[in-house]
Every structure is written in C-alpha cells, then in structure tokens.
C-alpha cells in the first residue's frame, strides 16, 4: 500500500469515527499519523501531578499497585497524607522501604480481604486495572475500602488504536501500549466507554476526570472515548 492510499484509507475510516478528521489537510493528518515520539517520560507519570493537585492535605491514601512508592513518597512529602501502599512485586516493596514508604506486599487479585470498609479517604489504582485477573472485583473493593477511588488506565478506544486494529488487523502497539499480544501484562484491556458503562451500571459517579490527549494533559471532555490516550478519573459511590 503506498503512503497516499494509506492516508486516504485512514481518512475515510477516521471520518466515520469523527467528522473533524475529514476536514484535516493531508500534511496535518500525516503528522498526526506519524510514529509518535512519546510526549511524556513514561517514568514521570502525568497522573502523579494531577493526583497531587486534587488530594486534600492530610488525607488517608491507599495506593494499590504502588510500585516503587514514588507517588506515595511525593504525596507524603507535599500533602502530608497518611499513605499506605500495596504491591505484589518484592523488589518494588524493597524500593518502597528504601524510600521510607510503608508498603504491604500482597496480590491485588486476592482482593483487599480484611481491609475495613471506608478505611481510607482515597484508594488509588494507577495503570493497574487492566493487568488484573478480576478487575471489576478490585474496583468494587476499592470503593468499599475507600470513600473515593482514583483510577487511571490506557484507553483502548483511542482513535489510533482503533485505526491500527482496522488497518493492520493486528493488536495495536502504541507508546502507551507498547507490548505485543503475547508479552503484555495488560490482560484486560478496555475503553473509556467500557469504564463509563461499568460506572453507570454500578451507580458509580465519575466525580472528575483528566486525560492525556494527543496534545497533552487536559480535563476529561465529550468525545474522549476517541481522543483520550490515557484517562484518570475520580469515582465515588452514589453518595460520594
């Protein structure tokens, strides 16, 4: 397929997803379709700054899948939160100890058995949901144990993902989803629309949302089923 054909096919497909693509000139579209240079350092997660800005000082925070404890260390330092991490990977827990961040080594797939209802103001689940064997159970547990949940995930409904699957017919690989089908930790990929559907069904309110779009970080907006690459939402139960 020559590049012009590819551009035309992409435009026709994308126009069906959103009219704004049909009015785009060839060079703008080509630039958009060009292989991405990662706009953000993956090690410096954009979500961390948002979470830091929205958490009130002194809140109690449980970070599920806290990794090396970088986020909690930041929140303890700048927001004086009462922070607790849970992490499966032993090396990551060692890193937490080195950072002076309390972390409990445990498998989230075993749930938060034994944790008290409403034991924390906020429960964070950053870039972890799609890796879990029973993601919905963990979401329910998150809302049981926390008054509010903060969830971030890659949006499998982003236009580039859809285009990649439509044109290549292979599992999409993007800078945010860099793995091949057989070596990915992401065993339960889902879209923003899927998440909204779950929230509606469960009467879970999306209190606020932020996305990493094609041009950077911004508040969640209409149409982000298509335009958000990564999503961060704060959710609460009916009364939250």
């Amino acid at each position: 397929m020559n590049p012009v054909d590819s551009l035309d096919r992409s435009r026709r497909l994308l126009a069906q997803l959103a009219p704004s693509f049909s009015s785009m000139d060839d060079s703008a579209l080509a630039a958009l379709l060009a292989p991405e240079a990662a706009p953000h350092d993956p090690a410096e997660r954009w979500q961390d700054a948002i979470i830091e800005s929205i958490l009130p000082r002194g809140a109690s925070v449980l970070d599920l899948g806290c990794g090396d404890g970088k986020l909690l260390a930041r929140l303890i330092e700048s927001k004086s939160v009462r922070g607790q991490g849970i992490e499966l990977d032993a090396d990551a827990v060692f890193a937490c100890v080195a950072r002076d961040v309390p972390a409990l080594q445990s498998d989230l797939n075993a749930g938060l058995r034994g944790f008290a209802d409403g034991g924390f103001d906020y429960v964070i689940l950053e870039e972890t949901l799609q890796t879990l064997a029973r993601p919905v159970e963990v979401l329910h547990e998150m809302l049981r144990v926390g008054r509010r949940g903060i969830v971030s995930f890659p949006n499998f409904g982003h236009w580039r993902v859809r285009l990649d699957l439509a044109l290549r017919g292979r599992m999409p690989i993007t800078d945010r989803l860099p793995h091949r089908w057989h070596d990915t930790p992401n065993i339960h990929l889902f879209t923003l629309a899927d998440f909204r559907h779950w929230a509606d069904e469960r009467n879970v309110r999306i209190v606020e949302g932020h996305v990493l779009g094609d041009a950077g970080v911004r508040p969640l907006a209409d149409g982000d089923d298509l335009f958000a690459r990564e999503v961060l939402v704060m959710v609460g139960g009916e009364d939250a």
């Binding site: 032993a90 827990v93 100890v97 002076d100 309390p102 972390a103 409990l104 445990s106 034991g119």
Partner: protein, 414 residues
Amino acid sequence: MSNPPSNPTSDPSSNPAPSPRPRPGDDPPDSPSSVGHTTARSIELATAEHPLQLDGGGVIGPVVVEYETYGTLSDARDNAVLIAHALSGDAHVAGWDRNAHVAGRGYRGKHPGWWDAMVGPGKAIDTNRYFVICSNVLGGCYGTTGPSSINPATGKPFGLSFPLVTVGDWVRVQAVLLDALGIEKLHAVVGGSLGGQQALEWALAYPDRVERSIVLAASPRLSSQGLAFNAVGREAIMNDPGFANGDYHGNGGPNHGLAVARMMAHITYLSEEGMHEKFGRRRRASAPGGGFGVEFEVESYLTYQGRAFVERFDANSYLYITRAMDYYDAADRWGAGDLVAACGRIESKVMVVSFSSDWLYTPAQCREFAVAMCRAGKPITYVDVPSCYGHDAFLIETAPVGRLLRHFLAGEAP
C-alpha cells in the same frame, strides 16, 4: 556480678560431626566489620526486697540479667537498638565471646554471635551508628535468672519451682534494663521468631518508648500446629527418666528428651524443599545400613543438632520458654481478642517480614497482622522474602534481610 550458667558441661568440641548449617563468611574478630571480642555484662534488676512483678501474678527477686552491648550510646541517647533473641538464643549477638571457655558456652569458640552477619561496624545494624543491646530472657540459661539459677530461699536450683514467665515479662525486664542504662526511647527493637514477638510486644506495651519495631518470621500468636510441636517437645523432656520432675541439676538431666525436642523443633525450622536440597535421601558412606542406626544424612544432621543442643541448653529453660511462646497472644493481651484493637495502641513504625517457605510463622499469619495494622489506620511495611530455608530463613537470608533492616532503621522517626 556474675551468674554463670549451670548447664550440662561436656565440651562440644568433643563431637566430631561438623556443623552442617551454612555459616558463610564468619567474620574473624580482627575483621573491620566485626565488633571483635565481647564480654557479657550482668546487672541485678530486681532484689528480694524489690522483686519483679510477673504476668502470672507472682513475683521474683533477685533478678539478674546478662546482656551485651555494641557501639556507643549517643549524647542524646537516641540511637539505641534493642535486639530480642529467639527460643534458643542468648545475649551474644555479635563478635567473639572472650569467655567462650566457660562451661556450656564452648559453642561460642567456633562461631561469632548468632546474628553477627547483621550486627557490626558498617553492617545492616551498624554499630558505628547505633548502640545495640541484647539481653538473655528471664527463665533462660545464659546468665539471666532462670530455672537453673539458685533459689536463694532453698540454696538449690529453682527447677520447676521457678515461676511461669511470659513474653510480656521479658519485655518488662528489658524495659527495666533500659531504665538502668538511662535509655528512655529506643530507635528500634528488632527480633526474629520468638524475638519478633518481643519486638511486637514492645510496640504494644511501650508505644511511647519505641520508634521502630521490626518483626521477622513472627506473628501475633503461635498457630495450633506450633502449639502441637511445642507440646511434643516438652513431653519428650518430661518423660525422660533423667528429668526427675525438674530436679536434675548436677545429675545429668533429661538429655535424651531435650535432644529429641530439639530434633523435632529443627524440622519445623526447615522446609520440605530446603531439606530435600540439603539432604535429599542421601546416606552416609560410613553407615552400616540394614538396621535402625543413623543412616540417612538427614538423620545424622538432626542427631547432631540434638546432641549439640544438650551441651548448651537447659531442659527446664526449654520448658519455660516454649510455654511463654505458647501463651503469647498479642490480640488477647492488648485487644481483648481483637487484633485490630490491639494494633490501635501502636505508635511505632512497624515492619513485618515473612519468609515464603516458613511453616511455623507462615506468610499468611504475618500478612494477617499487616492487614490488621492497616485496619487500625497504622502504616505497615510487610515483605514476604522468597526463600527455601523455612523458618530459619530469618537467620540465613542475610542479604535481603540486611537491606530491609538498613533502610528501615534509616527511615524518619514516626
């Protein structure tokens, strides 16, 4: 003051079997990372006139405690780290005992203290930085008043007239020792197994006197299975004809029963995988075979462990200490049965470390404690270290345990 142990006195060096336990890289006394030669100290912490109150309701006095210290107490007196020893341990944590020639202490001539890998200049519990203290428990047989000590009322060893002691009593004695040393607050308390339960008891009993509690291979109470093993061990001792209702001192004693108790306990300190790797079904080349003698490597190992133990431990102390281990239940003691309520008392930072193949204090039991801390709204660090060494892993897995200790001790005060 001195209170020499009145233990069985045969010389361990007369036993030809080498120690099969891995002791890689014992630090010689002149090593820059060794605390060098050590001398235990004794202190009288209670007298007949001012006896020590015990959990069981009785009193005891005088109470003499043997302890060792390493490093220097800072001017602010804020760098003290208390180490609590396990069932068969002693106050000799690190370095080489100058008095290893004393009866019952010959084992100290072959190896440095029981946690030398962890304690010394530049080591995880860095004696350049911390003032390290360890004392022998009440009821023990390494210099602290115990059933083998002379009862001043009778002029004879206490034997079974010694009062029952608890983990709570041990910690109270340690607190009195700290008072005597002029230490109001501990930088940390650290222990493994029964020592880990003391570290936990410290956090519960003296929440304002300890900043960090490190609990290795221990949970808030012993399981039913653990109780069962202790019961069989005591049964072996008490049914040995040499036991004489505990009044064996000077007459040999229940050596066979004590050896059997130790052999069985040793099985609980290892894991199936660890034993398989270490001994498999291998037989000793010299074994005659075809009878009931010591034939398999694992039999030889346990026999050696049993014998070596008899040479260094008092059978009555074994009864008293295992009983204290049985009775300890942090939830009952501090939360009327509710572990979360008990955890609510804790003000220190707590780190719990389990070992994946430990079936005496299992990872699940340790995790349960960690979750109870969370429920109580307390920060908790819990790590399950992968290891095939079973319960003994807390002594053997020096690299991961050292890393964890070093970092946790360096963390900010709560």
